[in-house]
């Protein structure tokens, strides 16, 4: 089943390095070109679900100025799920591009 876009961007954000909650929010905004801005309640609902599905895991905890920060990282299953989604999107894009090329050729007629 296709992955929802926020989930895709959360996993992508964590693909490079472990991040804490606000770090994930910033990375998702940046990666999506400002299209997706996660709010904290939504982010943590997604983190809970992805942790439960075994795609994420807590990497470490830190106290910064007396505040708790928890860093998350992808598990092997999480990397696998993201790779599978990347493959799916790549295949879809390739198929669409091939169709477009054919349509363009037809529009101009066969080369003689």
């Amino acid at each position: 089943m296709a992955m929802q876009e926020p989930t895709f961007f959360i996993l992508t954000a964590l693909a490079e390095q472990p991040l804490h909650g606000y770090g994930v929010i910033r990375a998702v905004t940046e990666l999506s070109g400002g299209r997706i801005t996660l709010r904290a309640g939504t982010l943590y609902a997604a983190l809970d679900r992805l942790t439960e599905e075994g795609l994420l895991v807590v990497d470490r905890e830190e106290a910064v100025e007396g505040r708790l920060r928890r860093y998350y990282r992808l598990t092997d299953d999480g990397t696998g799920a993201l790779s599978a989604e990347v493959e799916r999107l790549r295949a879809n894009a390739a198929m669409a591009a091939a169709r477009l090329r054919r349509t363009t050729k037809l529009a101009f007629g066969p080369a003689s």
Binding site: I25, A40, Y44, A45, R49, V57, V58, R67, R69, T75
Partner: protein, 434 residues
């Protein structure tokens, strides 16, 4: 603590206490880090997001289609139980079925007759309809109508004027009936037949809708709570909740389907009487809630999960399910045989009703065995669709003992229900079903 943090923490009260304990500080950190320096009040979007997230954790089933389907089935089951209880209560006070006696009193004394009485599904409140059909010439209907009307007046009814179509109304002590007389085909070739169509009590419509809605809502909330607890229990706890919960829902569903099937043409209260399966289903659902409440949780929400061997876990799950369904069937066989040997009764005497299993076994033993026995007869052979492929896939990939136990469990799933089809097993099943 800044005003903003205090306000965020106030919004976090929407979340369950256990969640706040685990996630609260982290969430507040994230919220504060994301807030501009001059912000003193939470943004409306953040506030709504937190309220929605918290309420979802408190009242919604866990994420996933499976959970939503179970919550919906739970809502329907409790909605039905509430409707059935309301129908029983309302119909117990309803004089509807007395109308048959009224109709009998109006029959011509010398006419061979047949009759039926039923409720219309769509009719709430309003008068009872009494339809008399005579196998006679149309010209005789005027006289027969007058006879019936006169007999009703003699019985103390107030009769309304004769209307076209040989119809008139009757009224006595608040009980109203509309009588119509016609010529035509009668049941079973008798000289006349009558049909009494009486309505459901008017109060049942609003009370039934309210029961269905409130019961459904309660069922949804209780199911969502149970499923949230289920999700965080250890695998053994999850299995226990599933083994009791799923058959219980099936029993309530069976009772509901039985009610719908029997209600057409029946007189009413008996249809909603609940019956054994409904009571067993209710008991099972209560036990499911209890299990969800008392079984320990698997561990902290955010802890890393150990890698899981799905094949081994699947084999264990199916084995335990087979055994949980098989053992009660075996227990019924053993109880029957032991009872027969101890009392010296023969098989005919055992099924005569003199050795009721509900009296032989204490209720605390009888109820769980009955729940798993009925579920096992249906579900255990179906589980073979899973366990047989697992036997093929698992050979050599799991320990020999694990594989052999699954093999034994799968054989028991085929053999034990099949034994119930033998003459001896048939007597055992008859005895158990009382």
């Amino acid at each position: 603590m800044s005003d903003l943090e205090r306000r965020y923490r106030r919004l976090l009260l929407a979340y369950p206490r256990a969640y706040r304990r685990e996630r609260g500080d982290e969430l507040v950190t994230t919220l504060l880090e994301g807030a501009p320096p001059d912000r003193v009040r939470p943004a409306a979007g953040d506030a709504w997001d937190l309220l929605r997230g918290g309420l979802r954790l408190r009242f919604a089933p866990p994420h996933g289609r499976r959970y939503r389907v179970f919550a919906l089935v739970g809502a329907l089951a409790v909605g039905y139980l509430a409707l059935a209880a309301t129908a029983r209560t309302t119909l117990d006070d309803d004089p509807g079925d007395q109308v048959l006696a009224t109709a009998m009193a109006l029959l011509p004394p010398d006419a061979g007759s047949t009759g039926v009485g039923d409720r219309e599904w769509t009719s709430f409140g309003g008068p009872t309809e009494l339809v008399f059909t005579f196998a006679t010439e149309p010209s005789a209907i005027d006289g027969l109508t007058a006879d019936i009307r006169a007999r009703a007046v003699a019985q103390g009814f107030t009769a309304g004027p004769l209307e076209p179509g040989h119809r008139f109304t009757l009224d006595r002590a608040g009980q109203t009936a509309v009588v119509s007389v016609a010529d035509g085909e009668t049941y079973a070739g008798t000289a006349m037949s009558f049909e009494a169509r009486f309505p459901w009590p008017a109060a049942l419509l609003p009370a039934g809708i309210a029961a269905l809605v409130l019961g459904g809502l309660t069922g949804w909330l209780a199911s969502a709570w149970t499923l949230r607890r289920f999700r965080t229990r250890r695998p053994a706890g999850q299995l226990a909740i599933a083994l009791v919960g799923v058959p219980s829902l099936l029993f309530v569903a069976a009772a509901a389907i039985g009610t719908v099937g029997a209600a057409r043409g029946d007189l009413g209260p008996a249809v909603w009487a609940g019956g054994f399966f409904e009571r067993l289903g209710i008991l099972g659902l209560l036990v499911t809630l209890l299990l969800a409440a008392v079984l320990p949780r698997a561990g902290p929400l955010v802890a890393a999960r150990p890698p899981r061997d799905n094949l081994r876990a699947g084999i264990r799950l199916v084995t335990v399910a087979h055994l949980a369904f098989g053992l009660p069937i075996a227990a019924v066989f053993v109880t029957f045989t032991v009872r027969m040997l101890v009392t010296g009764a023969d098989r005919a005497a055992m099924v005569s009703g003199a050795h009721d299993p509900k009296e032989v076994l204490p209720l605390a033993v009888f109820a769980p065995i009955a729940l798993l026995y009925y579920a096992g007869v249906v579900l255990s052979p179906l589980l073979l669709l899973v366990s047989v492929p697992l036997l093929g896939v698992g050979r050599g990939r799991v320990g020999p003992m694990t594989w052999r136990v699954l093999l034994a469990a799968a054989i028991s799933a085929a053999v034990l229900p099949a034994l119930l089809l033998t003459p001896y097993g048939g007597d055992v099943a008859t005895w158990w079903m009382d």
